[in-house]
Symmetry: C2
DNA sequence: CTGTTAGCGCGTTCAC
DNA sequence: GTGAACGCGCTAACAG
């Protein structure tokens, strides 16, 4: 301990190192700082948070870091938190599993000052628990009703954007590879897709709308199911996929069946992961700035933690990114 | 607190809840467990680790979760740790930045029981600090000399495997897109590449070996540099890339220049990320089981934490996975 | 089998 | 401007 080395009292050292109550002589201050540096002193965070009841840490509940979407989200949240002197504690949840209390318990047991929830679904029991604990929280990425603060993307708009783009190229027969029902991201994108088709007066064959779960494996099964519907001549000319990674998986299935993208079938992704520009053909997708969303959410949460009123929920507007995976359907001329 | 609700003494409650010294009557035990359940009691981990000097947490120092390689590694470590009742605390380090002490400080200040280092380089100052702190540690993924315990892959073997595969297909003009010099993963794979060529008596144009950093951006620049060397007729027929994601980026450059994979140029990746099988053409790569490596490393570390002797370092053998991104060079017939 | 006491390392309040 | 005392929530020793 630094106090022993300097011969001063621990509390004096504490005052200097925490910067509180600056009523210390310049001389001792310098001496303390020097020896602290020399000894490589680090305050014991457990003891500190035990005393102060603040941990300078926020929790992030996330399904799976292996999904680049959530890795990006974490990146942004971590960056923003760090800039405010906070750390991010991760609680990864099995995506398939029911969001269980123990994931949250880990964070609360560690005394986090607030929680960022990326896994929320409507009626999520975690939300009730957070409220009961009076724990500051902000939903990120997914939303769960107007009474829970969130920072998220306007998924319905994003769904509309890609679908309109395909409509303008002349597509009329569509497939949709969806995500997990109940997740607002999945539901919103599908709703936007439907809305755009309805506005254009284009019929949709419900057998070619396949939802179920996120992830490439589901995307492969879903794409196969869509292609297996009806006669070969009725094959969709465009497939809207709920997610970049899943779009890459869908493209895999098409390639295996000898279908060319975008010549035979156009494919779209969602999120504009760095990967989307790298694959061949580069994906037409919707840019959502997950990093920025993570930052904004962390900032919003830190405001609440700091005692400010709960900020208004935010829906961020995505934008369309046209690349090489979409083209007019074979034999059609694009509408001008 | 549970003690108040039951009218018992805190230490009695503690004994029951921690399971230590089971000398308690069945009756009070039941009563304690019930009220603990009812109140949703959670022990304050800060207080506990302050008292016990164990946090049941290990730290993981990682460059960037956005890189799927490290996300996989984390997944494995987390799974193994959880099975042993431990948690994983992440310390993400800017890959470009010099591995700085503060990353480690965060973990030690939090009182982790041991550290998993995925970022180690030889002569890494972090290693000295870990030793000085007498903190149990195990290197994972990268190695840094025989005197630091590690769980890693035999990168040189992996480099040999892909290169031999390409040699057997008949390739003689090679390019190599490398990673960060000093990282044993990058250096090892390159060494294996060179060794395989030397064994086969194949000359290598050093201008077509480009190292520098990990990441798609570097891969793009490196691939362009390789293609810009010499006359068009001397273009390499195969490019070995140090990493799956970077191979996908290299393939992007080739596509932009109108070169087909594998018809004009064969490309190989490394690690066999889930993504490798998804892209088109599916990548020929080296399977390294990052998840399993993360698990093994966590297990090894937990042994050290538990007081067992430092386990022997392990090099895990990778295997070749041949997919569609490699083929005989144009105009050549494969060697039988 | 249970209660008592003490202290982990820190920050805060009050006295000097 | 600095020291002393106290307690955050918990567990480990010993007492009863």
């Amino acid at each position: 301990m630094v106090a022993d080395a300097t011969g001063l009292h621990p509390s004096t050292v504490s005052r200097i190192l925490t910067g509180a109550g600056a009523r210390t002589s310049a001389d001792t201050r310098r001496r303390v700082l020097e020896t602290a540096e020399r000894l490589g002193y680090q305050p014991n965070l457990a003891a500190r948070s035990l005393r102060t009841r603040r941990s300078l840490t926020i929790g992030l509940v996330i399904p799976d870091l292996t999904d680049p979407v959530f890795a990006q989200l974490h990146l942004g949240a971590e960056a923003a938190a760090r800039r405010s002197g906070y750390h991010v504690l991760l609680s990864t949840v099995d995506a398939a599993a029911i969001p269980c209390a123990s994931d949250l318990d880990y964070l609360t047991a560690r005394g986090v000052d607030g929680v960022l929830l990326a896994t929320a679904k409507p009626e999520d029991p975690l939300l009730d628990r957070l409220r009961a604990l009076r724990m500051p929280y902000v939903l990120v990425n997914r939303v769960a009703g107007a009474d829970h603060p969130h920072v998220a993307n306007d998924e319905e708009l994003g769904g509309r954007l890609v679908t309109r783009h395909l409509l303008e190229l002349g597509h009329r027969r569509f497939g949709f590879v969806g995500g997990m029902p109940g997740a607002s991201t999945a539901d919103g994108r599908l709703a936007g897709f439907r809305a755009a088709l309805a506005e254009a007066g284009v019929d949709l064959d419900e057998r070619r709308v396949v939802v179920g779960a996120f992830g490439p494996r589901h995307a492969i099964a879903a794409t196969e199911a869509i292609l297996d519907v009806g006669e070969a001549g009725e094959r969709p000319t465009a497939i809207v996929v709920v997610d970049d990674l899943m779009a890459i998986a869908a493209r895999r299935v098409l390639a295996d069946r000898g279908l060319r993208v975008p010549l035979d079938v156009s494919v779209t992704g969602y999120n504009d992961l760095p990967l989307a520009a790298l694959v061949e053909p580069a994906l037409t997708t919707v840019r959502t700035d997950l990093d920025g969303m993570g930052q904004a959410a962390a900032l919003a949460l830190l405001r609440v933690v700091g005692g400010e009123p709960v900020p208004e929920s935010v829906l961020r507007a995505p934008s369309l990114v046209v690349r090489a995976s979409t083209a007019p359907p074979a034999g059609a001329t694009p509408r001008l």
